[in-house]
Symmetry: C2
Subunit: 164 residues, 2 copies
């Protein structure tokens, strides 16, 4: 199977159709996230799915209101501090889990945007969601069916990324 | 395309055949890593490919000697501090880049192991590789053609990962 077109064509999607995502699809997206690799297989992630009023309420903690409003659902991704053994490695594992979900979302004809700016108001989000101290918000994935064709993106040339 | 079997069947591979990986394949693996998402598209990663004596020399910085010896090549993944804007988000982006490479490697019939324990001797590795202060080692990927069928792995049930 050639994975390259999937990896290259996945783009951030910021505007979505008013079309529901079925629960089975959401579950599969989370399954994709769950199967990521992690150091010592500690699986340091936790997930929360937000929709409707709960979803829209997050608008007040970010500049990305329009993306959140437009999204059909949000998946909030947390570090589970109880299972953490190395903060740096746990963050990389969570990045791998998020990428699994983003690639899976793309393969299903859905689109998503990885929101990070909301972390600036992490404490307020925690308070609003009534989360215990064992969780730390690391990202919010906004998702839905894409409204329009996504734009292209760019990357630095590989030669500029290589260390000889 | 159904990505789920790829995500679920990718496993850590720790023993490899004595068979060369062609340069085009290595370049494609790095391309997969290069196309990961990152905050503000800052692409905070740098890569170094190690083989032969240089590869084997890394054995002295880790307990994973047998994996490094057996691997045909290593890809060392670094944070490029020059392009860093948020350490947490950069680490997650690097995790996404590594996952892209691991999935691509698996799709090509190769196998890999994400080595993290070597970070305990990060300073010594930096010195040995004569790296400047703008780079920070985050992971080493050992890769090659798998010697044997890989074992299964386990994950926590999804219900244990969900926050209501």
């Amino acid at each position: 199977m050639d994975l390259m077109p999937i990896i290259k064509k996945r783009r951030s999607v910021r505007r979505f159709k008013n079309k529901e995502i079925c629960p089975e699809l959401i579950e599969n997206i989370l399954q994709a996230g769950r199967w990521a690799p992690s150091g010592l297989n500690n699986q340091p992630w936790k997930f929360m799915v937000l929709e409707g009023e709960n979803k829209d309420a997050l608008c007040k903690f970010t500049h990305c209101q329009s993306i959140i409003k437009s999204a059909e659902k949000l998946i909030a991704v947390f570090l589970n501090k109880k299972t953490s053994y190395n903060y740096q490695k746990d963050l990389m594992a969570i990045g791998a889990s998020i990428e699994n979900m983003l690639l899976y979302i793309h393969c299903q004809g859905l689109g998503a945007c990885w929101l990070g700016e909301i972390l600036n108001q992490r404490k307020k989000v925690h308070k609003f969601l009534k989360l215990g101290s064992t969780l730390e918000l690391e990202a919010v994935i906004a998702l839905g069916y894409p409204l329009a064709k996504t734009k292209t993106s760019r990357r630095k040339p590989l030669k500029d990324l290589m260390i000889k």
